[in-house]
C-alpha cells in the first residue's frame, strides 16, 4: 500500500505520491529560510532538500534570523527551537506581528514537551525532529507553506495530555476544550496514522481531518484554559 511514512503528509485533495514534485498549487517551489545555530546542519538540510525548495537565506541566531526573514520575506521558515539570543520563540515573537503571512515549521533535536508546545503556542504551524528524512521534510515544508498544520504523533500526544478532560469548568468552552471528534483525530494521529488513514477510519474526508487539526492548533495557540496554563507552568512554558 503506497503510504508515505510520515503521518499527515497527504494534502487537502492533492496526493503527494512518491516521485511527484513538491510544489504549491500554482506550481511554484516554496521559498525557505533556514534558521539553526549548527552550520553543519544547515548545509546538510540544504543539500537534502535539493530542488524541492528554494533556500533564500540562512541564519544562526535570533537577531540575524529576524533580519534575514524581514529582508527576504520567504514563504516558510525552518526554525530551530534552541537558538542563542532567546530561542525560536523569540524569533516568532518578533517576526509574526509584522509578517503574519510567513509560516514557521519548528525543528529540533529535542522532543521535550516544553520545547514542542512552547514553539507551537508561539505560532509555529508544525513541529518535526531533526531525524526526519529529506523527503519527509520537503513534504512537511510544502504542507505548512500551503497553510496546513503538521502534527507529528508526539505533538498529538502532548496536545491530548494538555487538554485532558477534567471536571473543572472551561473558561471559554469553545477554546478550552477539544471536541470529541478532535480528540479522536488526535488519538489516531498519535497512534501513527496518516491523514488518509484517519479519514478512512472515521469515515470522513481528508479535508475534514485537516480542518480538525487546524482547529486544534488554533485552540492550542489561543486557549487560556486553566489546566493548560497550569500544565504549561508546570513545564515552565510560561
Amino acid at each position: 500500500m503506497p503510504d508515505a511514512g510520515f503521518p499527515g503528509t497527504e494534502g487537502a485533495g492533492r496526493v503527494h505520491g512518491v516521485g511527484e514534485e513538491n510544489t504549491f498549487a500554482n506550481g511554484r517551489v516554496p521559498r525557505v529560510v533556514i534558521v539553526d545555530d549548527h552550520r553543519l546542519f544547515r548545509s546538510g538540510v540544504r543539500g537534502e532538500l535539493g530542488d524541492a525548495v528554494e533556500v533564500v537565506g540562512e541564519a544562526g541566531d535570533v537577531d540575524s534570523a529576524v533580519r534575514v526573514i524581514s529582508e527576504q520575506r520567504p514563504d516558510l521558515v525552518l526554525l530551530d527551537v534552541h537558538l542563542p539570543g532567546g530561542g525560536g520563540v523569540e524569533v516568532l515573537r518578533r517576526v509574526l506581528p509584522k509578517h503574519p503571512e510567513i509560516r514557521f515549521l519548528a525543528l529540533s533535536v529535542s522532543d521535550a514537551a516544553e520545547d514542542v508546545i512552547g514553539v507551537v503556542r508561539g505560532g509555529a504551524r508544525g513541529y518535526v525532529t531533526k531525524t526526519i528524512s529529506g523527503k519527509e521534510l520537503a513534504d512537511a515544508i510544502v504542507r505548512v507553506a500551503d497553510g496546513d498544520a503538521v502534527f507529528s504523533p508526539r505533538l498529538a500526544g502532548f496536545v491530548l495530555d494538555a487538554f485532558a478532560a477534567t471536571d473543572a469548568p472551561p473558561v471559554d468552552p469553545e477554546l478550552d476544550r477539544l471536541t470529541q471528534r478532535e480528540r479522536e483525530v488526535l488519538r489516531l494521529i498519535a497512534r501513527g496514522y496518516a491523514y488518509k488513514e484517519v479519514a478512512r477510519e472515521l469515515f470522513i474526508s481528508v479535508k475534514t481531518v485537516e480542518t480538525h487539526v487546524s482547529s486544534v492548533l488554533r485552540k492550542l495557540q489561543l486557549s487560556n484554559r486553566h489546566e493548560l496554563s497550569r500544565w504549561a507552568t508546570a513545564r515552565k512554558l510560561v
Binding site: 529535542s110 497512534r191 501513527g192
Partner: protein, 402 residues
C-alpha cells in the same frame, strides 16, 4: 588478616601540624596513632610531673623533620585557617592541663590513685571516640543523643554520679572542705567545655561539608565520564561499521536517546509508572532488533499486576513487528484514562492473515491475547496482508491504583 610488615616512619619532629615543637605529632606518626591521643597522654603525664621532662627531652633529642619538598606548602587561606585552629587547639590543651592540674592539687595530690583512675578513664574514652570511624560515632551519638529514653538514662546517670561523689566525700568527712573546691572545679570544667566546644563543632561541620562536596563531585565526574565514554564508544563503532547503514542507524539512535534523556528530560523512576516503563520496554526492543520505535504517551499511572501484563504483551507485539513486519518504524501509543489504560502498537509493514495462524502455536494467541485476558483485559489485532498491523491492548485499572 595477616599482619604486614610496614615500614614505620622514623621519629621526627613534624614541621606541619605542630602546636609547640611538633613532638607529639611526630611521636604520633611514628607510633601510628592520632596526634590528639599522643598530646593527651603527654598532658596527663605532664600533670604528674614526668611529662614535662619527657617533652623537653624529646624536643632536644629528636631532630626536626627534614625538608622533603613533597607535600606542597598549604595555600595562604589554608595556612591561615590551620593557624586559627591551632591556636584554639592549643588553648584547649592549656585549659585542659590547667584543669587537670588544679583537680589534682585540690583533691589528693599527684599520687592519688582514684584521681589517676578517673583521669585515665576520661582519656581512654576520648581516645576511643577519636579512633572510632565516623559510622560508629554516628551510631553512638544517635543512640545517646536523640531519643527520650537516652536522655532519661543520661540524666539518671549524672544524678547518680553526683550523689555518689557527694556521698563518698560525706563519708570521708571531707564534704565541708570540698564544697568550695567542687564549685570551683565545676566552673573550671564548664570553662574548658566552652573553649573546646567551638573547635569541636567547627571540625564536625567541616568534615560533613567536605564529605558532601566530595560525594557530589564524585557523582558528577562519574556521570560526565560515563556520557563521554559512551559517546566516544559509539562514534568509534560507527566509523568501523560505516558500510552497514542499518547498524549505523541503530548505534546512532541508541546513543541519541541516551544523550537526549540526560540533557532534556527529567529523570523518572522506570519501575513504578506506566509511561516510563513502556518507554524502557520500547528502548530495549529497539536495541535488540534494530527497528526504530516511537513512543507517545498521554497521562500516567502507577503500575499494577494487570499493567505489568500489558507491558509484557506490548513487548511481544513490538518484537513481532520488529521481526516479521519489515517496516521502517513502529509506533506505540499509550493513553491512560480514569478507568483503563490503552496501548496501541502499530506498524506499516507486511501485515499477516490472522486466520492463517495455527491455533496451537503460541505467539499472538497465547502471549498477547491470552495474557491480556488472563488479567481481565482485552487484546485486538487488526491486520491484513499488505496493510500493516495494529495491536490494540486494553486493561482496566485496579481501583486501588486510580
Amino acid at each position: 588478616m595477616t599482619a604486614t610488615r610496614e615500614e614505620t616512619p622514623r621519629l621526627y619532629r613534624r614541621r606541619d601540624d605542630r602546636l609547640l615543637g611538633g613532638v607529639c605529632s611526630g611521636l604520633a606518626r611514628h607510633l601510628g596513632i592520632d596526634p590528639v591521643v599522643a598530646r593527651l597522654a603527654l598532658l596527663a603525664l605532664a600533670v604528674g610531673g614526668v611529662g614535662l621532662a619527657v617533652y623537653i627531652a624529646l624536643m632536644l633529642v629528636v631532630p626536626v623533620e627534614p625538608e622533603t619538598g613533597e607535600g606542597a606548602s598549604p595555600t595562604g587561606e589554608e595556612s591561615v585557617r590551620r593557624k586559627g585552629r591551632d591556636i584554639s587547639q592549643m588553648l584547649a590543651y592549656v585549659a585542659l592541663a590547667t584543669g587537670l592540674g588544679l583537680l589534682f592539687l585540690l583533691f589528693g595530690g599527684v599520687l592519688d590513685p582514684l584521681l589517676w583512675f578517673l583521669v585515665f578513664g576520661a582519656l581512654g574514652g576520648t581516645i576511643l571516640w577519636q579512633q572510632a570511624n565516623p559510622a560508629e560515632r554516628d551510631e553512638w551519638v544517635a543512640s545517646t543523643a536523640l531519643r527520650g529514653k537516652a536522655w532519661l538514662r543520661t540524666g539518671v546517670g549524672i544524678l547518680l554520679v553526683i550523689v555518689g561523689v557527694i556521698g563518698f566525700l560525706a563519708f570521708q568527712q571531707q564534704l565541708h572542705e570540698a564544697r568550695a573546691g567542687l564549685t570551683f572545679a565545676l566552673t573550671l570544667l564548664a570553662g574548658i567545655a566552652l573553649i573546646v566546644a567551638p573547635w569541636i563543632v567547627g571540625l564536625v561541620r567541616e568534615r560533613d561539608r567536605e564529605r558532601r562536596e566530595r560525594i557530589r563531585n564524585q557523582e558528577r565526574a562519574e556521570l560526565a565520564a560515563h556520557i563521554h565514554d559512551s559517546v566516544l564508544h559509539t562514534l568509534t563503532l560507527i566509523q568501523r561499521r560505516a558500510d552497514d547503514p542499518r547498524e549505523v542507524q541503530r548505534l546512532a539512535r541508541v546513543q541519541e536517546r541516551a544523550l537526549r534523556s540526560w540533557l532534556y528530560q527529567r529523570r523518572t523512576d522506570t519501575e513504578t509508572t506506566v509511561s516510563p516503563a513502556l518507554e524502557r520496554v520500547a528502548a530495549e526492543v529497539e536495541e535488540t532488533h534494530g527497528v526504530p520505535i516511537e513512543v507517545v504517551s498521554v497521562g500516567d499511572c502507577p503500575l499494577d499486576e494487570g499493567l505489568h501484563a500489558t507491558l509484557q504483551a506490548a513487548r511481544e507485539a513490538m518484537v513481532n513487528a520488529a521481526k516479521y513486519a519489515g517496516a521502517d518504524t513502529i509506533s506505540v501509543f499509550c493513553e491512560v484514562e480514569p478507568e483503563e489504560v490503552l496501548v496501541f502498537v502499530r506498524d506499516r509493514g507486511a501485515g499477516f492473515d490472522l486466520n492463517a495462524v495455527p491455533a496451537d502455536r503460541m505467539g499472538v494467541r497465547g502471549s498477547i491475547i491470552g495474557r491480556m485476558e488472563r488479567h481481565g483485559g482485552q487484546a485486538r489485532i487488526r491486520t491484513a496482508p499488505g496493510e500493516g498491523t495494529e495491536v490494540q491492548l486494553r486493561m482496566p485499572r485496579s481501583p486501588a491504583a486510580r
